[in-house]
Every structure is written in structure tokens, then in C-alpha cells.
């Protein structure tokens, strides 16, 4: 073989962002490389067999894998500015828009790729985008006041979204939501539709409120820098083509999954509604500007978070999004 490539992902292949690697990225790259008269073999190490979730970046940096899913969401110290979307809720529910803009920013904004270089990796593409976060509860929600005193679980930085709602934000994890909701450890969760359906969360939290908290960016494919630099241009082009194909496939699949998930959950008896009048606005207005705090604290560490924040919000507004809060200018 001309190229031997190990790919690491902490999640198992049931996750769409892992499936996109084995179903689209690997075949596309293989095809391109072979078209150029070369051969390539992949060793696909998913589900934590080589690196756990959040450890992929380290494994790629060390060279244990050539390519991996660099999970900014689970590695917020190393890929700090990449978490911009989680600090700017109520910006857009359009996951395709997030995918395009984040990919563009990686291509055009040095501030965005700086962190990769610091960690000895390069950005390949195929952003892992998460569909619009929903509020799912085991009680009906007619106004923001209904959340008062309720225990609501949210992942990582998204727990900031509960500030000002009166809800008790509990740091939670997608994997145990079902059980915790069933026994009543939480009364609700902030979660996305494409995971809520397979996780059967509608059985235990049948009131689904679409508040437009927003689609998010969680990570992307990255490659070991020294290895990538040693590749001839044709191989780099093949990787880029693979990442582009994976990105297109992922966005299509995810958009279809969101529609299908909401339909299926509705048919299964869940009550799905847009947030009642005024609730969205009241929610957004009452929230702390965590984006400011986040950007300032990263700026102080020499990480260009304010630049990324401004660029992201500007790009979103230019692309027609109507954020409820202008996190960058407040």
C-alpha cells in the first residue's frame, strides 16, 4: 500500500458523524487515490478502541492515528474558539448554514485554525453539526414560568442556556437521559431531535418545545500535521474531496433525520409545539451573556475568541439568520 491510514473516533459507528467516515469519507478518498494510480488502506478504530471521546485529538497529535474526529465540544480546552456556537444560542436553527459557515471560517479565518496548529493537527473538514436543540420535558410548557424550579439537564456549555429561566440546570449526559428522566432525577432535558428519537426520550419527556436554541458545531475531521505535510498534493486533494463528500452527505442525512424524528415522535404521541408567544424572547432576554464572558476569558489567554465570535455572528447575519441576541455587540 502507498498509504496506511488509521482513523480514530471515540463514538461507535451508530453515530452519524462516524458513519459518514466509513460510508462516505473512506470510499471517496480510496476512489480518488486509486484514480491517481495509488493504493490506500484504512484501519478504522471507532467506539473508543484506540481513543475515547474527547481523546481523539491527542491520539491524532501523537500519531497513533493519522486522522480522527477532533471533538471541540468534548475537548474545550484545546479547541476553545471552536465552541463558539455553544455560547451563542438563539442564532439559527438551520444546520446547513452552521455547517457551511463553520467550514468557511476554517478556510478563511486564521484565528479559527490557530488552535489546530498549536495541537499538531490540521483541519480536514466535514464539520460535525448538531441539529437544533429542543426542550423536552415531562410537563407541559406554556410559558417560561413553567420551568421555574424544574430540574433540567443540559450538556457541557449548554447549561449556561438555562441561566435566568428559573430552572435548576443539571449537568447531564445524553447517554443516561432516558433513565434519569424515567426515574425523575430530571424533569426535562435540552437535547436534539436526531438523538431524542433513537434514545426514545419522547416516552419519558413527551412535551417537546422548539425554542430555536439553535443548531451547533461540535467538531470535525482532523489529521496529524506532520503526516499531512508529508503527503503529495494528490493525496491531500483526495482527503479534501473525501471531507467535502462527507460534509454534503452528513448535512443531507441529518436534515432528513430531523424531519423524520419529529414526525415519528409526534406519531408516537409526543406533543410538539413551537415555543409559545413571548417565551423565546423572554428566555433569550433573561439569559446571561455567557458569550462575552467566554470570549473575554479566552482573549485573556491569547486565544482569539472575540474575533471568532464577531466573525461568526456577522457571517450568520449576512447569511440571513436573525439572532435573538447580538452576542458579539452587546
Amino acid at each position: 500500500q502507498d498509504y496506511n491510514v488509521t482513523i480514530a473516533a471515540g463514538h461507535p459507528p451508530v453515530f452519524r458523524w462516524v458513519k459518514m467516515i466509513s460510508d462516505v469519507f473512506v470510499p471517496t478518498v480510496t476512489e480518488q487515490v486509486e484514480a491517481a494510480g495509488r493504493s490506500i488502506s484504512f484501519s478504522e478504530q471507532y467506539g473508543g478502541s484506540l481513543a475515547k471521546v474527547g481523546e481523539e485529538l491527542e491520539a491524532v497529535e501523537a500519531g497513533l492515528a493519522e486522522i480522527g474526529t477532533c471533538q471541540a465540544l468534548f475537548d474545550p480546552a484545546k479547541l476553545a474558539v471552536q465552541n463558539v456556537t455553544y455560547y451563542t444560542p438563539f442564532t439559527t436553527s438551520d444546520l446547513g448554514k452552521v455547517s457551511t459557515i463553520i467550514d468557511d471560517m476554517h478556510a478563511n479565518l486564521p484565528a479559527m485554525t490557530e488552535a489546530y496548529g498549536e495541537n499538531g493537527v490540521v483541519y480536514l473538514g466535514a464539520p460535525i453539526v448538531i441539529d437544533d436543540y429542543l426542550l423536552m420535558t415531562n410537563f407541559p410548557v406554556n410559558s417560561l414560568a413553567d420551568l421555574d424550579g424544574r430540574k433540567v439537564a443540559a450538556p457541557g456549555a449548554a447549561i449556561n442556556w438555562l441561566s435566568g429561566t428559573g430552572a435548576v440546570g443539571v449537568s447531564g449526559n445524553l447517554t443516561t437521559y432516558y433513565n434519569e428522566l424515567k426515574t425523575g432525577v430530571y424533569d426535562g432535558v435540552i437535547v436534539f431531535a436526531s438523538a431524542a428519537l433513537p434514545g426514545k426520550l419522547f416516552e419519558v419527556a413527551p412535551f417537546i418545545t422548539k425554542a430555536g436554541l439553535g443548531a451547533q458545531y461540535a467538531g470535525s475531521l482532523c489529521a496529524n500535521e506532520a503526516w499531512y505535510d508529508s503527503l503529495p498534493q494528490e493525496a491531500k486533494d483526495a482527503l479534501a474531496a473525501g471531507a467535502d463528500a462527507a460534509q454534503a452527505w452528513y448535512v443531507d442525512q441529518l436534515e432528513a433525520a430531523v424531519t423524520a424524528s419529529l414526525t415519528a415522535m409526534g406519531e408516537a404521541g409526543a406533543t410538539i409545539q413551537d415555543a409559545p408567544d413571548g417565551m423565546r424572547e423572554a428566555w433569550a432576554a433573561g439569559m446571561d451573556n455567557a458569550a462575552r464572558e467566554w470570549a473575554d476569558s479566552l482573549d485573556a489567554q491569547g486565544k482569539p475568541a472575540s474575533e471568532v465570535l464577531t466573525n461568526y455572528m456577522t457571517a450568520m447575519r449576512d447569511a440571513g439568520a436573525t439572532p435573538l441576541r447580538n452576542w458579539d455587540t452587546e
Binding site: Q45, G47, T176
Partner: protein, 435 residues
């Protein structure tokens, strides 16, 4: 040599090193280091793999609560609640040949309702049951074997950290998995008990010559007094979980606090004994987690060698039909159980198998129970058998060798195999309570 050959060779090297007397975690680490070096051709890469695993392998909430479950177990033991449960169980089985052994299984089944891991069960009953059984004429080999065998109940009877892990990997309801674990757990306890009585009658040289005539029968009031503390702990832990007050993962800490309060309130604990318990908890936790770190280094090296993927595709590519795939899957899980720790096996194999078994429309709850049962056999099999290692670490007696404990545990591994077969043949044992 291909990476696959290196992987296979490393299995042999690990076995030899362990047999020759190298510390097991060190043997695993050295084999991982040399293996990655040989596969990737770089000692630097090999040392990076070791360092990353040392830093990250057990760095999870899931492993973080292990010492809390062990602590709860040791407080229960130190405060004499475990001993009480053991006495109650013995009073019930005192007329049986092998009654103490059956009592150990019964007490372990009770204790399983408050612990989420087998490590805690093995450690606690090593302290409580092994000295008693030896004093009453059982061979050390058999006494430790009974404890090793019945410790697996800790993971089958809810709560169970392994069932939680499966639920996470397969996106199945943890509550359903817990309920499905009850039937096979009780069946295991019954078969262990039958096996113990049978061995006491038919293989006296293996079991020893138990003399249990002097075990007193307990009057009803005494029975109640001894049963009450442990019963209230069970109510606290299970009640707390099912009432949504805390999560099964938090149950270790809550159970430890409950046992602590109860122990001090009943005057069964002192600050000094609490400190002894804490130090002991630390030593057992460190020993076991250090092993798990080493095992995960080893499993990452194996992943790079392609051996697990090769075994996996053996199961998935072989056109064997439904039963062929399920049986070969169980065989591979059991084989991997000889050399890897429980969570590594599940992390490697479950995601590999799900895409194969989901189209076959199998009941994933049942599949989870099968998986955990097969994985747990590995707790008892050499060269890497965590339950046996925990007993050795807790026993702290140079006269009882690892080999003795492995031999003592062997019949129980066979009984588990039998129960696995029954759950395979009659899925209702697991899923009956759900339908």
C-alpha cells in the same frame, strides 16, 4: 510479520510473563509497549500510547465511582452488616451440606442489590466469608472459589455498572436492562447453590470436609435484628434510584453515606475503623484500577494489531445464520474475557456487533444480558481474571495462590456457561419480567 501476527504473539508473551511471575499490570504494559513498537515501528509512538492510556483510560465518571462502591462494601463489612447478612443466610441453609457456601451465595445475592460492581462483592465477601468457611473445614481453594463465583452476581442483579455501560453503547433503556438482569441473576444464584451442594457431596477432596454443626439456628427476633440494617440499606439504595432521588452511578456514594450513618448510629463504627476502611478501599481501588489501565493499554495495542477486528469479522462475515452468529459472538466474548477487562471487551465488541444483530431483529435487552453474562465469565478465567485478582489483593495471604483461586473458581465459570446457555435458549428468563 504482520500486525495481526504481532497481536497473536503478544497474547502468548503476556501469558508467559504472567505465569513466570511478573506483576500482571507490568506484564500488560510491557507487552503493549513492545507490541505497538513492533506494529508501528516507533518506540516513541509506543510510549505515547502508554502515557495517553495512563492519563485517560480510567478518567471517566463511570470509573470514578468505583472507589465509592468499594467503600460502601467495606463500610458494610466493617460495621458487621455484611456479617449479619451472612449469618441470616447461613441460618437459612445450615441444614444443607455445603451450607456456608450456599449462605455466601445468598448473602452475595442480597448484597448485589446495593452494589453496582463485582469488585466490591468480591472484596467484601473475601473479608466476611472466606475466613469463616476455612475455619469450618472448607479448603481455601473452594472457599475463595465460592466468593469469586458469587461475586459476579454484583453485576447481574441491579444496580449494575456494566448494564449501564451496555445501555449507553446500545442506546437501550437502563431501567429495562436492570429488570432483565434480575431473572438471570437469581438463576445464577440458584445454580451456584445447587452446584455447591453437589460438589460438597460428590467431590469432598475439592470442597474439604465442612463441619457446620456448630452454626447456631437463629431465633426469629435475632433474625430480624440482623436482617434489618442491610434491608434498610437496600431500601435506601434501590428506593433512591427508582424514586429518582439519585442515579445508579451516584448510588455508591449514597450507599456509603447510608452505611456510615447507620454504622455510627448503631455504634458499630469508630473514627479509627473508618480510617482503616478508607485505607483498605484505597489499596484495593488502586490495585484494580491500575490493572484496568494496563488492560486498556493492552486492548489499544490489540486494536492496532487488528486482532479484535479480525475476530469480529469472523463473527460478522461467517454466513452462519442467526444462531451461528450469536454463538460465535459469545465464544469470542468469553475468549476475550481471558485477557481483557470487562469494559474494554464491551467497548470493542458491542459497537462492532450492533450493526450485525440489529437487522436480525433481535431483542437488544436480551442481547445486553447475554453480553454481560458472557463478559462476566471472564472475571473468573485466567490469566486476567479481575474477581480472582481482587480476592488475592484483599486476602493478603501468601499461602493461597492465584492458581488456587482460579481453580476454585473454575466450576463456577462452568455454571455461568450453563446459565448463559439457558438464557440463550430461553430468552424469557431475561425478558419475561418486561413483557
Amino acid at each position: 510479520m504482520t500486525p495481526f501476527d504481532i497481536g497473536l504473539l503478544s497474547l502468548l508473551a503476556m501469558g508467559v510473563a504472567v505465569m513466570a511471575g511478573m506483576f500482571v499490570p507490568i506484564a500488560l504494559m510491557v507487552c503493549s509497549f513492545v507490541g505497538v513498537w513492533a506494529i508501528k515501528g516507533s518506540p516513541v509512538l509506543a510510549s505515547k500510547l502508554l502515557a495517553l492510556a495512563a492519563n485517560d483510560a480510567i478518567s471517566s465518571y463511570f470509573f470514578g465511582v468505583v472507589p465509592l462502591f468499594v467503600l460502601m462494601g467495606f463500610i458494610v463489612s466493617e460495621a458487621g452488616f455484611g456479617r449479619d447478612a451472612f449469618d441470616v443466610a447461613n441460618a437459612a441453609f445450615r441444614r444443607l451440606k455445603g451450607g456456608l457456601g450456599v449462605g455466601t451465595v445468598g448473602a452475595n445475592a442480597i448484597f448485589a442489590a446495593i452494589t453496582g460492581i463485582s469488585i466490591a462483592s468480591a472484596a467484601v465477601f473475601t473479608k466476611i466469608a472466606v475466613p469463616q468457611m476455612i475455619r469450618h473445614g472448607y479448603t481455601p481453594r473452594f472457599a475463595t472459589g465460592v466468593v469469586a463465583g458469587s461475586s459476579v452476581l454484583g453485576m447481574m442483579i441491579p444496580p449494575s455498572l456494566l448494564l449501564i455501560l451496555f445501555g449507553i453503547l446500545a442506546e437501550q433503556s437502563i431501567g429495562d436492562l436492570f429488570i432483565a438482569g434480575i431473572g438471570p441473576g437469581l438463576l445464577l444464584a440458584i445454580f451456584f447453590s445447587l452446584g455447591i451442594v453437589a460438589m460438597a457431596i460428590f467431590t469432598p477432596r475439592f470442597v474439604g470436609s465442612p463441619d457446620e454443626a456448630d452454626i447456631p439456628s437463629l431465633p426469629r427476633s435475632e433474625l430480624l435484628k440482623k436482617a434489618l440494617p442491610i434491608a434498610s440499606l437496600i431500601i435506601l439504595v434501590l428506593g433512591g434510584i427508582y424514586a429518582g432521588i439519585f442515579t445508579p452511578v451516584e448510588a455508591g456514594a449514597m450507599g456509603a453515606i447510608g452505611a456510615l450513618v447507620l454504622g455510627f448510629a448503631m455504634g458499630r463504627l469508630t473514627l479509627k475503623s473508618l480510617w482503616t476502611v478508607l485505607v483498605e478501599t484505597g489499596l484495593v481501588t488502586a490495585t484494580v484500577c491500575f490493572l484496568i489501565i494496563a488492560a486498556q493499554m493492552y486492548s489499544r495495542m490489540l486494536a492496532l494489531s487488528g486482532v479484535p477486528a479480525g475476530l469480529g469479522s469472523l463473527a460478522t462475515d461467517a454466513e452462519l445464520g442467526y444462531w451461528g452468529i450469536i454463538l460465535i459472538y459469545c465464544a469470542i466474548v468469553i475468549a476475550m474475557g481471558m485477557i481483557l477487562d470487562s469494559s474494554s471487551i464491551m467497548l470493542i465488541l458491542v459497537p462492532l456487533m450492533l450493526p450485525v444483530v440489529i437487522p436480525m431483529n433481535i431483542d437488544l435487552i436480551w442481547f445486553g444480558i447475554i453480553t454481560v453474562l458472557a463478559v462476566e465469565i471472564g472475571l473468573l478465567t485466567p490469566p486476567f481474571g479481575i474477581s480472582v485478582y481482587v480476592i488475592k489483593a484483599t486476602l493478603d495471604d501468601p499461602n493461597i495462590t492465584l492458581g488456587d483461586i482460579f481453580k476454585g473458581a473454575a466450576p463456577f465459570a462452568l455454571i455461568m456457561l450453563l446459565v448463559l446457555g439457558l438464557v440463550l435458549a430461553f430468552p424469557a428468563i431475561a425478558t419475561g419480567l418486561l413483557r
